[in-house]
């Protein structure tokens, strides 16, 4: 097949070429401007953050040296003995890890329940009153923005050392985070079931129960599982401020230079976190798959 390509007259061609060149130049200018702003911000931040590249270069060898020093002594002839020496505290550490997981679980569950209750109050499509929505949202935002470890610091003073402040801190943070995500899900649901329940005389609770909840439940569970994953990481460091779990053991090992203990505990934490990630990802994919097939 042949087609004749129309040839533009010279003047028109030049105009087009000029316009193209101008567009490219404008884009270049924007990129250069962005880069300049970025570099200026980097320099300002570096000055503010006491970045000392000399000191860094001088001390960088300490990072591999640190990892070398926390690495256990290992030789092939005595591998088993070395291993058991490295993980000498395994029973205690597994118990603490179990505690950490339980703290994360209890915090997530409590937070998910609170978030579940609050999210409907924060959804503009279910609640008429602007004030209720506004106030609930600000409360959730507060719970979310204050870092959980700050809550933990304050709760340790109020409730004493132990797992309780850790659970409460995670629960509050989870309430804020999940409440927001849940509310976003609720605001995106199909309005027809809600109207249906309202039209057949249901009150607000019935509207939520039969109109909204069936649409959002699988999404909620998926978000809660994701949050559990995040909370396991958070619970691992709760012990830094005395709020239970394996963190206490880790920070002591670091501060007292029990080098091989540091690596053993870190390894345990990393493996646990990976296992949890893997499991929850499986479950979440199944949940979302179920939802996909139901539709």
């Amino acid at each position: 097949m042949r087609t004749a390509v129309p040839e533009f007259p010279e003047a028109r061609l030049r105009e087009l070429a000029d316009r193209y060149a101008a567009a490219v130049a404008a884009k270049r200018r924007r990129v250069w401007l962005g880069l300049a702003v970025l570099i200026a911000a980097t320099i300002a931040a570096g000055w503010m953050g006491d970045v000392n590249l000399w000191k860094f270069a001088e001390n960088f060898w300490r990072l591999p040296a640190y990892f070398a020093s926390i690495a256990p002594k290992f030789s092939f002839s005595t591998a088993w003995v070395d291993l058991s020496e490295w993980f000498w505290g395994l029973p205690r550490w597994t118990q603490l890890l179990g505690d950490t997981l339980l703290i994360a679980y209890m915090g997530t569950l409590t937070g998910a329940i609170c978030g579940f209750v609050l999210c409907f109050l924060a959804s503009a499509n279910l609640v008429r009153s602007r004030t209720t929505v506004f106030v609930t949202r600000r409360v959730l935002e507060f719970c979310r923005t204050v870092p959980e470890i700050v809550f933990a610091l304050i709760f340790v003073l109020a409730f004493g050392l132990g797992a309780l402040p850790g659970v409460l801190a995670i629960a509050i943070h989870t309430t804020g985070a999940l409440g927001k995500q849940f509310a976003e899900v609720v605001e995106n649901i199909d309005n027809k079931p809600i109207e249906g329940v309202a039209a057949s005389g249901g009150n607000w609770l019935q509207i939520v129960r039969f109109g909204a909840v069936p649409q959002v439940l699988s999404n909620f569970v998926s978000y809660a599982l994701l949050r559990f994953e995040i909370n396991v990481r958070g619970a691992a460091v709760m012990g830094f401020v005395g709020a239970g779990g394996i963190g206490q053991e880790l920070i002591e090992a670091v501060r007292k230079f029990y080098y091989t203990d540091v690596s053993a505990i870190l390894l345990l934490i990393v493996v646990t976190v990976m296992l949890i990630d893997f499991t929850t990802e499986r479950v979440r994919h199944r949940l979302l798959g179920l939802e996909g097939s139901a539709r």
């Binding site: 980097t42 953050g49 640190y66 505690d99 935002e141 204050v146 409730f159 132990g162």
Partner: protein, 284 residues
């Protein structure tokens, strides 16, 4: 009108027994799930030795703290300047940490993406090492770096770089793998080599997505940068932890307020920039 339904309900139920019969199998599954969750919770209470008698006392004490916190007050003008400086440190930590993590993660994420490097072993190795780095919390990285470069915000920056390196490596490689492969094939078919296809076929597609992810994390890193001071890695967390320990509640609430305002300001800026770059699109 209402009686219409009620009168006929019995006959409707009688006509469609399959629909109205309770589904015991389904209900049983739900009951087992809920029962298991509650049992695990109760087990947790026993195992963690949650002291319920301290709960009410603690609540009273907490209420006392909140009363002492109001109104927020920084103490003196010199303190305000000190806090603002600490806040600047925190924002710098978040900024440089995010930037450094992103710059380091970009080449590695290309290695971890299946459509750029076809070698399975390289792919698997980079993925697993990224997972390992990501499994260590920012606070733990801060603890390690404080031991290496000493106390101060620089340790915080390095800690944020490390933990972001893992996160960005994963996010970037996923974004790269999700990219449309037609442009890359176009470059190949017009005679470009593999590097050309990555540079001109792949990167232009994913760059806006990566940029928006980086901006999103800048905000979340500001939150985590506020706390790494607790282990001595600089920023406002150091001040906050100190004031909590010496029970200066008015200063504590002032600092929390300061953090809230900063985080929401950065949230606002980063979401504005994000929308300017990619429009209103959710970040996966």
């Amino acid at each position: 009108m209402n009686s219409f339904g009620l009168e006929n309900q019995v006959s409707i139920v009688a006509r469609h027994p399959d629909i109205f019969r309770p589904d015991w199998w389904h209900r049983g599954k739900i009951a087992i799930g809920v029962g298991g969750a509650v049992a695990l919770f109760l087990f947790g209470i026993v195992q963690l030795d949650i002291p319920f008698h301290r709960l009410s006392d603690g609540m009273v004490r907490l209420g006392g703290f909140v009363q002492l916190m109001l109104p927020p007050h920084p103490g003196s003008w010199a303190e305000v300047l000190k806090y603002l400086h600490a806040l600047g440190e925190t924002v710098s930590i978040a900024f440089l940490g995010t930037l450094g993590g992103a710059l380091l993660a970009l080449p590695i994420s290309l290695l971890a993406a299946r459509n750029v490097v076809a070698n399975r072993i390289i792919h698997l190795l980079t993925r697993r090492s990224l997972d390992t780095i990501r499994g260590v919390d920012t606070l733990i990285w801060a603890l390690i770096w404080v031991g290496i470069v000493g106390l101060g915000p620089f340790a915080g920056i390095l800690a944020v770089i490390c933990s972001d390196f893992g996160t960005f490596g994963k996010l970037f490689s996923e974004a790269i793998e999700a990219a449309d492969k037609n442009p890359a094939e176009g470059v190949r078919s017009s005679g470009g080599n593999h590097l050309h296809s990555v540079r001109f076929g792949l990167l232009p597609q994913v760059f806006p997505i990566l940029l928006s992810q980086v901006l999103y994390y800048f905000e979340s890193n500001t939150r985590s940068a506020t706390i790494i001071g607790i282990v001595g890695a600089g920023g406002i967390g150091l001040q906050l932890a100190e004031q909590i320990r010496v029970l200066e509640w008015q200063k504590v609430s002032f600092l929390i307020l300061l953090i809230l305002m900063t985080v929401s300001a950065i949230d606002w800026i980063s979401s504005k920039l994000r929308f300017a770059i990619i429009g209103q699109r959710p970040i996966a």
